[in-house]
């Protein structure tokens, strides 16, 4: 009777535990799925995530709608959260458009979106393979397309995406794809720097033929395409550019060696100045001059001039020369500073020079009138000279008043001309000569005035005056000739041009230029010379192929041919053994992140179901079975309770039926609930679950009497009344035990409720 009750109890416990485990797992799973769906959409609901810059989001929406209506009629999109400044749109397209052709050019449909920032393919079910050599992409694609259940296969750069018809086939197809990748091998031959073949392609083809002939695998194909192509070549090019830039950017040290000072390429010297010190490595030596690069410290720490020391093995310091350091970064900073200064003064200077040029133009415009005045003066002078000549003898009695007035006017005129010529003297050598002559005239006229004064009193010196007039007239003539030779119109035209140029210069936005230069300077790496030296060394290593693979040959073959087998043939064909030969699978199946996340959620659900199963098992054990176990233990004590040595008791206690019952019930409960609820724990095989259940049962059995104690008095009273154990359990033990399922079940048959 009680046995049936226990079995019924177990069945009900298992059903309830399964329901509870499923319920909790489903609730948690539902929550996680809802959260995930809000982030990345439901599995398979959308095909692409289109990203645009956040600020272009609104602008992109109508364009996206247009793209969908134009190219994917029936398609729709859903806004997704903005992540990292990028707005995301989930895009779904109708099934009819899901073709290889569409997927291979899917990017081109969405590049028209304003602020387009990327596209990810999330169509499901799908898996991807990467790492396939480019030359083998097509053959692998063909093999994959032949697999049953594959919808189509498309290439996305070096990655092969396999769209499958039914998710249920995913695991099988991935296994078959893995088999294709495993069956095919890539044997790769890499050449170190300096040992590259002239034509890797020709050598590769020959190697393939020879290996095929020697080992007869199903096939051997040369699948490298161009070793200097693609990303590697671009990387090398970029690295070279970086190196070139840094080489120009670092400081250059020119050392003039002292007499007896000797330096060789590679020597490390110390540069010392009042400001500080640095170390440099000699890079070239020519006569008594050496060049070096700073390897420790920075040019700014030693300034332009420094003393050069060398150290011997005992670290004794010897002066070997003087160094001049050219720091391009410092020069750049200076230039930017100067341009900044220029921008501050240029507008005012331009204005001043412009005003001057305008004045000069005005003066030149009046040049002919001034010249006429000079010519007129010269003519007057000649007349005066003639008069003076003719009348020199009569001068003593002559009235000189008029003559002195004429001379004063002439002097004033000459003075005006002289000032004007001073202004334009920079324009022409002729003008400068005329100005000099005019000065001479002016001097003569001053002298003449003096003489006239004296003439007035000293008429006896008329001869002297006559000669002087002759000289003065000649000088005036030369001046006039020089002025007549001056091309005022040409100079005027030049001035107009100069003014235009000046205005253009002033209008130049020097401030923007300065800002831009400062911006460029700010963008340049703030590196010390030793950093630059180290970086250049590292770039050299990279470019030389230490880290970037150099030329290589890739051969696609089957598992029948191994790298070890092929090595002798390869060495023979290459002509040396200075190559590395590796063998690898054809590619790697890439986990589908989207699928992985959902699988992970599924795992979480299973784990939750499993944990709930454990909790339910413990709960059922504690509430329902501890009373039964307690009674079993009491019975055991009644049989073996007293006397006996402790060791024997302990050993025997382990084998008492109470523990057996606990083990069995725990095992049955946990295993059944775990299995029926679909529980699972990663890395824990199912076979362990019954053991865990049994262990839980043992633990509960160990503490059963503390959890649900039974009254020995009452049990013995029942026995004395001739009650069976089942009746004692039903009528005495269970009704007094902890409330649980067993108590509920027991109520049906309980005689005294």
């Amino acid at each position: 009777m009680i046995g049936k009750k226990i079995i019924l109890l177990l069945v009900i416990s298992i059903l309830l535990g399964t329901a509870a485990s499923n319920l909790i797992a489903e609730i948690a799973n539902g929550y996680f799925h809802t959260t995930m769906d809000s982030l990345v959409g439901q599995y398979g609901e959308y095909d692409f995530i289109v990203q645009v810059q956040e600020e272009k989001k609104e602008e992109a929406k109508p364009v996206l709608e247009e793209v969908l209506s134009q190219h994917f009629a029936g398609g729709h999109y859903q806004e997704a959260p903005v992540i990292g400044g990028r707005a995301n749109f989930f895009v779904a397209i109708p099934d009819a458009y899901k073709t290889k052709a569409v997927y291979e050019r899917i990017d081109s449909y969405f590049t028209v979106l304003p602020g387009a920032a990327g596209l990810s393919i999330i169509s499901e079910p799908r898996f991807s393979i990467r790492g396939v050599p480019q030359g083998a992409l097509e053959s692998v694609r063909r093999e994959l397309e032949r697999l049953e259940g594959v919808r189509f296969v498309f290439l996305d750069g070096p990655t092969i995406h396999v769209m499958i018809r039914d998710m249920a086939d995913s695991a099988r197809l991935q296994e078959e794809a893995a088999r294709i990748l495993t069956d095919n091998r890539v044997i790769e031959v890499r050449f170190p720097v300096g040992a590259e073949p002239d034509s890797p392609a020709r050598l590769g083809e020959e190697l393939a033929r020879k290996l095929q002939a020697e080992y007869h695998p199903d096939f051997v194909r040369y699948v490298s395409i161009d070793e200097q192509r693609g990303e590697e070549a671009r990387l090398r090019s970029v690295l070279s550019e970086m190196k070139r830039f840094l080489a120009a950017y670092r400081s250059k040290v020119t050392i003039t060696m002292t007499e007896g000072g000797r330096l060789a390429v590679g020597d490390i010297v110390s540069l010392k100045s009042d400001n500080g010190k640095a170390s440099a490595r000699i890079t070239a030596v020519r006569g008594q001059t050496a060049t070096a690069h700073i390897t420790a410290g920075d040019a700014s720490e030693i300034g332009v001039n420094s003393a050069v020391y060398r150290y011997d093995e005992q670290m004794t310091e010897t002066l070997v020369g003087e160094a001049v350091t050219d720091n391009p970064r410092h020069r750049l900073a200076q230039v930017v500073g100067s341009v900044g200064d220029l921008s501050a003064v240029l507008p005012q200077s331009g204005e001043d020079v412009g005003t001057f040029l305008q004045d000069a133009e005005m003066i030149l415009a009046d040049y002919d009138a001034k010249l006429s005045a000079v010519q007129s003066t010269a003519s007057e002078m000649e007349k005066l000279s003639a008069i003076v000549g003719r009348a020199s003898d009569e001068l003593a009695s002559a009235d000189t008043t008029k003559l002195r007035d004429d001379l004063a006017r002439a002097t004033k005129a000459v003075d005006n001309v002289g000032r004007w010529l001073s202004l334009v003297s920079w324009a022409s050598r002729d003008v400068r000569e005329a100005k000099a002559s005019l000065a001479e005239v002016e001097q003569h006229m001053v002298t003449l005035g003096t003489y006239l004064d004296e003439f007035h009193t000293r008429t006896q010196e008329a001869e002297k005056v006559k000669r002087f007039f002759g000289d003065m007239t000649a000088s005036t003539r030369r001046t006039v000739d020089a002025l007549e030779g001056f091309d005022a119109k040409r100079v005027q035209a030049s001035l107009v041009q100069a003014e235009k140029s000046l205005r253009a210069l002033v209008e130049t936005d020097i401030a923007s230029l300065t800002d831009e230069m400062q911006s460029v300077m700010g963008a340049l790496p703030a590196m010390r010379d030793d950093d630059i030296d180290e970086t250049i060394t590292m770039l050299d290593r990279l470019i030389d192929g230490h880290l970037v693979p150099n030329k290589r040959i890739q051969l696609l073959t089957t598992g029948q041919l191994t790298a070890e087998m092929a090595a002798p043939t390869i060495y023979e064909m290459v002509g040396h053994d200075n190559v590395s030969i590796n063998e690898s699978e054809l590619g790697i199946i890439e986990p589908n992140t989207y699928l992985e996340v959902y699988q992970m959620l599924h795992e979480v659900k299973r784990v939750l179901a499993g944990l709930t199963a454990v909790v339910c098992t413990v709960l059922f054990m504690v509430l329902d079975h501890t009373a039964v176990i307690s009674m079993m233990k009491l019975r055991y004590r009644q049989r073996y309770g007293r006397g006996d040595d402790r060791i024997r008791q302990s050993v025997r206690r382990l084998w008492q039926e109470a523990y057996g019952y606990g083990w069995c019930v725990g095992m049955v409960l946990l295993t059944s609930i775990f299995y029926l609820a679909g529980g699972g724990v990663p890395y824990l095989p199912f076979i362990v679950i019954p053991v865990i259940g049994g262990m839980l049962g043992l633990v509960v059995a160990r503490y059963a009497e503390r959890i649900s104690p039974v009254s020995e008095d009452e049990i013995m009273a029942g026995e004395s009344l001739g009650m069976s154990d089942g009746e004692i359990l039903t009528e005495i033990v269970i009704p007094s035990a902890r409330p649980g399922l067993l108590q509920l079940l027991n109520r049906r048959t309980l005689r005294f409720r």
């Binding site: 009644q638 049989r639 309770g641 007293r642 006397g643 006996d644 040595d645 009254s711 008095d713 009452e714 013995m716 009273a717 029942g718 026995e719 004395s720 009344l721 001739g722 009650m723 069976s724 009746e727 009528e731 005495i732 009704p735 007094s736 005689r751 005294f752």
Partner: protein, 251 residues
């Protein structure tokens, strides 16, 4: 009616009962006396196999109790009433239900069992308390209910395991009077483990004196306490004289 032959019980190295044999006729009352720990309780518990003896045999009405199947043993236990020192009533059941319990689990309909229970409770003077829970009764009351429970099957053998040991002297008398009545009825063979010397002298047909697991004296009260042959018998005699003198001098 009851024959115990050479029963022996050990707990590890401790000998609780050693080669004890005795017999009780129908209607006879036998008191087992002796110092605490001498094996009295173990002996009577072995009679209905509440304690399983290591060896020996117990015959009740010609049936070897130790050889019975579990079902037969349960049936046999219904024919052997047992009254414990600590009452051992079922706490969640009323006095009446406690008395009914054995009858009902034996298949008797509740109504019939209730009638018998009422009759038994009336016999021990507890009818008025039939609906009380054990915790609502005095110690004497609980023991009387326990006696009613033991009598419910009208057993031909009743075993008493120090029924008054947990009671105060006033309550002891209540219980002893019931036991005396039962003994006078001669309806059942009674084996009484007790320290109550007056009861033994008044009621017991025979006395078994036990010491260290063995029966050291057996006979009528007059034989055992009048002419004791064992040390424990002599100590009982001295005790009896002391109690008599004290009573006389006091009164």
């Amino acid at each position: 009616m009851l024959t115990v032959k050479n029963i022996r019980k050990t707990y590890g190295d401790t000998i609780a009962v050693d080669d004890v044999s005795f017999s009780v006729r129908a209607g006879e009352t036998v008191a087992i006396m002796g110092p605490s720990g001498c094996g009295k309780s173990t002996t009577i518990r072995m009679i209905n196999k509440l304690v399983v003896p290591d060896s020996g045999s117990v015959f009740v009405d010609g049936h070897d109790v130790l050889a019975l199947s579990s079902n037969e043993l349960r049936q046999m236990r219904k024919r052997i009433g047992f009254v414990f020192q600590s009452f051992r009533l079922i706490g969640r059941l009323t006095a009446r239900e406690n008395v009914m319990l054995g009858l009902v689990t034996d298949g008797m309909v509740k109504e019939e069992a209730a009638l018998i229970a009422d009759e038994m409770l009336a016999k021990v003077g507890m009818q008025a308390h039939r609906d009380d829970l054990p915790r609502e009764l005095s110690g004497g009351g609980q023991q009387r209910v326990a006696i009613a429970r033991a009598l419910a099957f009208h057993p031909p053998v009743i075993l008493w395991d120090e029924p008054t040991a947990s009671l105060d002297p006033i309550l002891v008398r209540e219980v002893l009077l019931i036991m005396e009545e039962l003994a006078e009825d001669r309806a059942a063979a009674m084996v009484v483990v007790t320290h109550e010397l007056p009861f033994a002298l008044r009621v017991a047909d025979r006395i078994l004196l036990m010491d260290k697991g063995r029966i050291v004296e057996e006979g009528t009260p007059a034989d055992v306490f009048g002419h004791p042959r064992s040390d424990i018998g002599r100590r009982y005699r001295d005790l009896m004289a002391y109690q008599t003198d004290t009573t006389r001098s006091t009164l």
